[in-house]
């Protein structure tokens, strides 16, 4: 007996840590798929429950990877995570890019309107109306193929329903779970009309992934033993549609705890003072502080890179031999002539196609740094040109080499002229760093988006975050002024 116990303990201790199953999802907003119900990193949602169940059956440790929704499929291809699960509809186009598991969910598109507004009950009835939806969805495709409909594309579900409530658009067409969770509890909105279209969600895997067979098997197991039914019932998403997909009874299994919990959170009408108290809660503040820290770290690293690279480019352009100067000029034009957003996406999602893969932070610093280097280079070039020719000659005549003359005579004088523009560029970089929230970095703007979709408030939080950006930039403006004064040598004058 004692021997057996010992054996058990040994075998437990010797057990290797489970291999990870990384899964990509856009966890900002994203109710009820996989979302953060409070401001912590804790995730809940029906897809989260499904992944947990699959991972358990596969003997793996699930690990969520936050990613922009538009970039989920490219992320699978680039190998940023093993699988993507986030309301991804099976479509012919996508099937060319990735493999799909068997579907785990089936539903329709749901029309939502404003109480007291137009009441289109079908696709055709929406002709002449402005209808909101999310990008890359079946709903968008349906709307675009319906004559007379003006489709309005949103990035966040909440923004679409907000615009509907305030009358900017006339209806929203989105997947049933989204409508149920975002519009359902909102007294200003109403779900109407017949089910439209048919959507099947499945897990996206890299083409030829060895994980497809075991994941399909796990899903089949979950269907067979009722685990999937229990999960979907918990989120109040079980109904005839699911039952028909899996050949099971249409009645839910167990209480819809997930749904009820969510609704009770949302339904609390919150006064402004309570809202403020929420924003200053330790969770919200720590999220914002982390975001601000990341923004600052990104911006400082990127600016350092931009200054160093910009100086090299400018020197090559002004003092380099002709081919080098030409190369630098072309590089600067290419970088300045293309959008930062494209450069960022290219670095993060594009380069892995040719085998170059950077972690998000590095990709963000590179994208921002390389982009701003082009602007810095032009700034320094005009600074270098602004130093009188006699300065270089005087330095050379004293026996300095060209390199020494540049380093000790020309560059310091040029930098003084460039400093105000550099300060300007840094402030602008600080703000542009918000673009890298596109590549899964939860910096300040990303934190704002997450909190805003959680609290249904873009207003007060917006002011708060704007203030934080302002405070981040201020010390550097002051530092630059001080530096300018020192370079001017005003101390000696007094």
């Amino acid at each position: 007996m004692r021997y057996a116990l010992l054996l058990l303990m040994v075998s437990l201790a010797a057990r290797e840590p489970l291999p990870e199953l990384t899964w990509g999802a856009a966890t900002d907003g994203n109710v009820p798929y996989a979302f953060h119900p409070d401001n912590t990193d804790a995730l809940v949602g029906f897809e989260k429950d499904i992944v947990d169940a699959i991972a358990r059956r596969l003997g793996r440790q699930p690990k969520a990877v936050r990613n922009d929704w538009d970039g989920l499929v490219p992320g699978v291809q680039a190998g940023k995570y093993d699988i993507a699960i986030n309301g991804i509809e099976i479509s012919d186009d996508r099937a060319k890019e990735v493999d799909f598991s068997i579907p785990y969910f089936k539903c329709y598109e749901q029309i939502v309107v404003r109480r007291g507004g137009p009441r289109p009950e079908s696709l055709a009835a929406m002709s002449g109306l402005r209808v909101g939806t999310l990008g890359q969805t079946l709903a968008l495709e349906l709307l675009e193929n319906t004559p007379g409909v003006e489709a309005v594309r949103y990035d966040q579900e909440l923004q679409a329903y907000n615009d509907l409530a305030t009358g900017r658009i006339d209806a929203v067409l989105l997947d049933v779970p989204i409508a149920k969770y975002y519009a359902g509890p909102d007294p200003r909105l109403e779900l109407i009309g017949e089910p439209i279209g048919e959507i099947r969600y499945a897990i996206a895997l890299r083409k030829g992934s060895a994980l497809k067979a075991p994941i399909d098997a796990a899903l089949r197991g979950m269907i067979a033993d009722g685990e999937l039914r229990r999960i979907l019932s918990k989120w109040d998403l079980w109904g005839p549609a699911q039952a028909s997909l899996y050949g099971q009874p249409p009645e839910p299994l167990g209480t819809p705890d997930g749904y009820l919990d969510y609704v009770s959170r949302v339904r609390d009408s919150v006064s402004w003072t309570e809202k403020l108290a929420r924003y200053f809660s330790p969770e919200a503040l720590s999220l914002l502080a982390k975001g601000a820290g990341l923004t600052l770290a990104l911006s400082l690293s990127a600016m350092l890179l931009a200054v160093a690279l910009g100086l090299i480019l400018a020197l090559a352009r002004v003092y380099g031999p002709t081919p080098l100067s030409w190369l630098a000029a072309t590089w600067i034009e290419v970088i300045r002539g293309t959008p930062l957003l494209i450069q960022t996406l290219f670095l993060y999602y594009g380069l892995p196609n040719i085998g170059i893969q950077f972690p998000p932070f590095v990709a963000g610093v590179l994208a921002l740094g390389i982009n701003y280097a082009a602007y810095e280079a032009e700034n320094y070039r005009s600074g270098l040109r602004g130093v009188p020719r006699g300065q270089l000659e005087a330095a050379l005549a004293l026996g300095l080499t060209q390199r020494q003359a540049l380093r000790h005579v020309i560059v310091p004088q040029a930098l003084r002229v460039c400093l105000p523009t550099m300060t300007n560029d840094f402030i602008s970089l600080l703000k542009d760093s918000s673009l890298v929230s596109m590549i899964t970095l939860l910096e300040l703007t990303g934190s704002y988006q997450r909190l805003a979709t959680q609290y249904y408030d873009y207003f007060l939080l917006g002011l708060l975050v704007a203030l934080i950006y302002l405070l981040l930039g201020l010390p550097f403006v002051r530092l630059a002024r001080q530096l300018e004064r020192n370079l001017d040598g005003d101390k000696a004058a007094r």
């Binding site: 000659e393 005087a394 330095a395 050379l396 005549a397 004293l398 026996g399 004088q413 370079l487 000696a492």
Partner: protein, 245 residues
Amino acid sequence: MSYPQIDAVPDLRAELISKAYGSIQVLKGISLHLRPAELVCMIGSSGCGKSTLLRCLNGLEPVDGGSITLDGAPVSPLDLRRRVGLVFQGFHLFPHLDVMGNLLLAPGLLRPEFTKEDTDYAEQLLARVGVSPELFNRRPHQLSGGQQQRVAIARALALRPDAVLYDEPTSALDPERTADVVALIRDRQQEGLAQIVVTHDMPFARALACRTIHLDHGEVVADAADLLTAPRDERTQRFLRACLA
């Protein structure tokens, strides 16, 4: 403040150097020999190529033809610039450095054994041209034109070159300060440096009382010790008359 290095000082020789800017032939085959400790004054009308010649002798401007040698051996432009100092007509002080910084930049970078002695030497040079210590920490824009010119002269000497070329070194100076510069040039002569002084300032040229070269349209038209007192060439006589008028 003597710093004897006569043994080390070589002589500077230019052979038939020519220089053109585009289609303008500025120097038309000039030959010049400067022995150690020799002082030469150079005069000539505006635009005749004096500054250009100095820039070529310093190695700053590449020549189209001819050669420049030190002690008979050809030297690289970089070596030439290190061993032949040049005081610019336009001063070209470094505006981001103070007076001391201007003097010590080159010695600090080029002498691995840079010591306090170099600092002392820089201070002596400044004292010699009448720049008082309270100006040492000023930036060039906080100095008068004459003060700037004197700092520029001291800067060219701080690296202890073998030869020094002055381009109108007294253009911004009053007679008293001009006398300081004359004394400074004499000191350098004592030390064995070869020196060329380009000037329009006739009292200054006479005070130097040395071999004088008259440059005209890129050519040497006269080269004599008594050129100022007894000009023989007709063009020189005309030029000197114009200077007095």
